[in-house]
Amino acid sequence: MRRVTYFLAALALGASASAAAQAADLPFESGKLLLTGGVTNVEGVGGGGLANWATITGYETRDAIGANVHATYVGLKDYDLRTYGVGVGFYDRVELSYARQEFDTGSTGAKLGLGRGFTFNQDIVGVKVKVAGDAVYDQDRWLPQIAVGAEFKSNDKGAIIHAVGGKKDTGVDYYVSATKLVLDKSLLLNGTVRMTKANQYGLLGFGGDKHDDYRPQFEGSAAYLISKRLAVGAEVRTKPDNLGFAKETRAFDVFGAYAVNKNLSMTLAYVDLGDIATFKDQRGVYLSLQAGF
């Protein structure tokens, strides 16, 4: 019920913000083609499900501002992850985002000695700047759209993080993304290199007893555009393995993203987030709703 409430709250917020923007005559518009702005990923950043893309969130063109809210639920074998937040695209150039992640250990919390329903919370503030190329218009060039960005992450469970060997409860990820729409093949391709110390996205802190340095990690996405409204694809994301108590492995997903219209889109995925905190093969369903204007 709580999850449903989040979705409804996010959608209501999106709808009312949209109405307010129109009433105030702000330069909001829906100028991009459906889905070409990407969706919002698990860290609140414009992209796919797990990966950051070089696209700037929202449907605004270079002449306006676009914004959206999202709510994401990931139901895994032994854990739940909920994320909700807001993203704003400025002039198809700069993206600012905020997301709150709640990693709910549920009944697994008791097995880990943390207590049933123990939840790690993380705030993520993201900034992304498009630096070159245009994923959509540059169909006669190989140059992809390139963006650089940073994510400022802060976790509220410092004591537990230190107890399991984590070094810090805050951290910054830096990344560069390249996204290319290969329209004559109806394909979208993305590659991202992320410099990070984050353990399980930062939900288990930053750095650890095994490693405490920035290492490049890779995120790759490929999607096929079935129609204006529907794209299906797959993603892979590598992660550091910094903590001695539990091995961290790569994450993978297959997804479908559906745009009802420019104000509402949903992403449904099967995710395999690998091993998390000694519990193996965390697979499950990923559902994300995004409302924008």
């Binding site: 100028g31 991009k32 083609l33 002449d63 006669d140 329209l183 109806s186 079935i226």
Partner: protein, 156 residues
């Protein structure tokens, strides 16, 4: 000549022919704004000239009544526009047509068009292609030819 020399000359000749092919060819119809799609599969997916004519007969009334962009077509000869678009799309999809209109940059230079205008028109084109039953993959092959024209069409 030894066998070796013959083989070497043949190799050089092949390389020269290869590099001649790699030289950029002058555009057959530069005003059309892009090289046509190779082969006739896309042209057939558009149901050839008749299909493209039907698409444009739907598209021109659509763009000239679209509240986002209709003001951009004030004073434009719509009969000529429809004819030019039909020939241009026929040419770009690989059909046996010539585009006899003016250059893309020249035509749009004084209009002060924005990305919003450009994308609205692309959306309307998708609707007209949908109505003709053009498969999405074939639509994207045409849109891939049109999208880079944004660089000369959008001036604001």
């Amino acid at each position: 000549m030894t066998k070796f020399h013959t083989a070497a000359l043949a190799a050089i000749a092949t390389l020269m022919a290869g590099s001649a092919l790699a030289e950029p060819q002058p555009m057959a119809n530069p005003a059309a704004g892009a090289e046509p799609i190779v082969g006739d599969a896309t042209y057939k997916a558009f149901h050839e000239k008749e299909g493209i004519s039907r698409i444009m007969a739907d598209f021109v009334p659509r763009i000239t009544t679209d509240p986002r962009i209709k003001a951009r077509f004030e004073g434009v000869n719509l009969i000529r526009l429809q004819l030019m678009l039909t020939n241009q799309v026929c040419y770009l999809t690989g059909g046996p047509c010539e585009y006899g209109g003016r250059d893309m940059k020249e035509v749009h230079a004084s209009l002060g068009l924005t990305n919003l205008d450009f994308n609205a028109l692309a959306e309307d084109l998708q609707l007209s292609m949908d109505k003709e039953g053009v498969p999405f993959t074939a639509q994207n092959q045409l849109v891939a030819k049109l999208a880079p024209m944004q660089r000369v069409i959008v001036t604001k």
